[in-house]
Symmetry: C2
Subunit: 204 residues, 2 copies
């Protein structure tokens, strides 16, 4: 009996370093998840390869896929569509491999609706985590600066609720280690392991 | 605001190697949980130190602690009591440190009742995990042998339900890595992290 793969969704506020963390994780030899290549209507840049960096599609092709519900999530940025093809994700999960998505928070919301069983990881800026000590030493910073940071932090904390885990991106390698630990732990969950054996033994 | 420590409970069928895995974990320099020393009425063996190997107590003292509800779990084996003092566990958790218990399955049941929020890890014998391939290659082993293993496996799988995670003890170091990953992941759970920040910012 083959265990289905995990859908791992890494997201977080823009500028937090999602791409850097994702690239670092995939440079590790001990990770074995598949990266889901995004689809886009943006023109390839010099050196970009179709099927490696992106799946490059025309606007008509992309919109047809939207209509056919063939996208796990999509959004339009600066006049171009970006999205995740659902077939690749489903086939890879069914083959028993974990799929890794690195997407924007709006996309993560859409994925949560279609794949509530996914593993949602919020990459948090270290500034958020440092807020507490900044507040304690408030005297050293202006009230306005603190208030702006608090406002930003409030938004980010509200975003977190959608996610199963929060990983602070204080150092790229430390963030990678936490993400890898989360995936390993998820594979050890009784709710994942026990049913396989129960089925095998026909216990109840 | 200090985060409360995690109560980590490692248990599993007798003979699975709980003690070996626990000792290996505590020999790692990158773990920082506290080992909860058990209390016993058994006489110290040569070289055993009170407060290091065990807290050695008289039968009267132990039974007084039972009456005062001062034990997180306890059991009697071969005429001697063994148990976990609750005060040490509570104080250590409140100080923000994780506490590690390595106990029998009966004890783990008692702890689950008193500390449902604990992190319960079931150490599973590799034989259980190998069953599947043995069944596939059934021709190579007698039916009786298979049936006995199946019966044992059935009991072990039923035990699993109490636990949050199942860790296969195929290799001691691999089991340690999984346990450490589970603890690290648990510290990254949104349900642990978000409330701290919400409280800090007084968001709702």
């Amino acid at each position: 009996m083959k265990e289905k793969g995990l859908l791992i969704v890494l997201s977080g506020p823009s500028g937090v370093g999602k791409g850097t963390v994702r690239k670092a994780i995939f440079s590790h030899e001990d990770t074995n998840f598949e990266y889901s290549i995004s689809m886009t209507t943006r023109k390839p840049r010099e050196g970009e390869v179709d099927g490696v960096d992106y799946f490059f599609k025309s606007r008509d092709e992309f919109e047809a896929l939207i209509k056919q519900d063939k996208l796990l999530e999509y959004a339009e940025y600066v006049g171009n569509y970006y999205g995740t093809p659902i077939d690749y994700v489903k086939e890879t999960l069914n083959s028993g491999k974990d799929v890794f998505l690195e997407i924007e928070v709006q996309g993560a919301k859409q994925v949560r609706e279609k794949f509530p069983e996914g593993l949602f990881i919020f990459l948090a800026p270290p500034s958020l985590m440092e807020l507490q000590s900044r507040i304690v030493t408030r005297g050293t910073e202006s009230d306005e600066l603190i208030n702006n940071r608090m406002k930003e932090a409030r938004k980010e904390i509200e975003m977190m609720n959608l996610y199963d885990y929060v990983v602070e991106n204080d150092q790229v390698e430390a963030a990678c280690d936490r993400i890898k630990a989360i995936v390993l732990a998820e594979h050890c969950k009784t709710s994942r392991i026990a049913p396989r054996y129960k089925k095998m033994l026909e216990v109840e």
